[in-house]
Amino acid sequence: MPDQTHSRPTVASVEKRTDAIQAALEERGLKAGEFIEQAEHLVEEKWIPENGARVVAKAWTDPAFKQRLLANGRDAVAELGLTMPPHHRHLVVLENAPKVQNVICCTLCSCTAFTIIGLPPDWYKDLEYRARVVRQSRTVLKEMGLDLPPEVEIRVWDTTADTRYMVLPVRPPHTEGWSEEQLAKIVTKDAMIGVARLQGT
């Protein structure tokens, strides 16, 4: 913290602090650099919202799968080759309806089902979203561009344990007859967080 009353040594920049801890681990024979490269691959190619989009598209087109998904999300997404970290022991899938809007958050930190819906966007981790969405849900959603009619019930899910959530959006009516691949393309991370609805719903 800047302190105007006493002169103190300067706080090192976040980059320099990151370099310092990385180098300290490396010097102890812990291959941090290698792990960072692997993690880059996971972040860019594995933990992406396209995973969740495939799950949603499958649920829209396969009623038996949807039933399994709503009963046990973790097992159902595994059918599509999708995995979750061992400490995420449960995936709860929250089905939206024309008059129900589910929205997820984490007021205490910023937890998400990141291997399924992708890593959380910046605003999800900001103090504003964490503080406000549980108490001013309708106002916050409206500010974010989702102006829900008064008859739509809002259900907010605070990720306070290691159970993870994803929202199953309503299928847009104009997508009748579309293939799973086509459907997956229109599903967004924000719709699976619940702060957006898909076009036409």
Binding site: M1, T10, V11, A12, V14, E15, K16, T18, D19, A20, I21, Q22, A24, L25, R28, A32, F35, I36, A39, E40, H87, R89, H90, V92, T107, L108, C109, S110, G118, L119, P120, P121, D122, W123, K125, D126, L127, E128, Y129, R130, A131, R132, V134, R135, Q136, S137, R138, E143, M144, G145, I154, R155, V156, W157, D158, T160, A161, D162, T163, V195
Partner: protein, 208 residues
Amino acid sequence: MDGMHDLGGKQGFGRIRYALDAQVFHEPWEKRVNALYGFAVKLGIFNMDEYRHAIERMEPRHYLSASYYERALTSLATLCVEKGIVTLAELEKRANGTFPLSMSSAPGRSNIPGRERFKAGDRVRVRSDYVPGHMRMPGYIRGKTGVVVSESPAYPFPDAHAHGVKAEDEPTFDVRFRSEDLWPNSSDAALVHVAVFQSYLERASDSA
């Protein structure tokens, strides 16, 4: 602990800085930090509850002014120092400046004796517990009454797991609260679902 991190329902914050297709990372060092704390967890240097608690232990002004990934960096460095992997002096020498760490930890606690098993539809009350260490009960549900919606598999008890205290794994219950009960006359109407550890809950009396 009733820390600065416990933001749910806090007033005074402005608009969400929302953008379509918002980014996850803004700077290359953020990706490195995100990988490094995952690396430390994988190596068993610390667990996720210790990691979260070390963020909560940040000096409040530092917590509020730090970005998400600076908080991750601070937790990672704090725990590496506390676990004896590295000294603060070494980190500051390498960084060529000061390296603010989190405040020290208070004792944790084990599970509550006589925990009850709840089922969907049960009315439950969140215990009015005040603990100095880690817990995953957001302050806005303390003492409040809600309805159990479902049960999740047993997890390590965070109040113990963040402190190296022995405890049994316990289930969490998704509990549904009415925003009107949480913040009477001072919230948008909504149902607020919170995943609540068994030790935080007691059966609500019928009159509740």
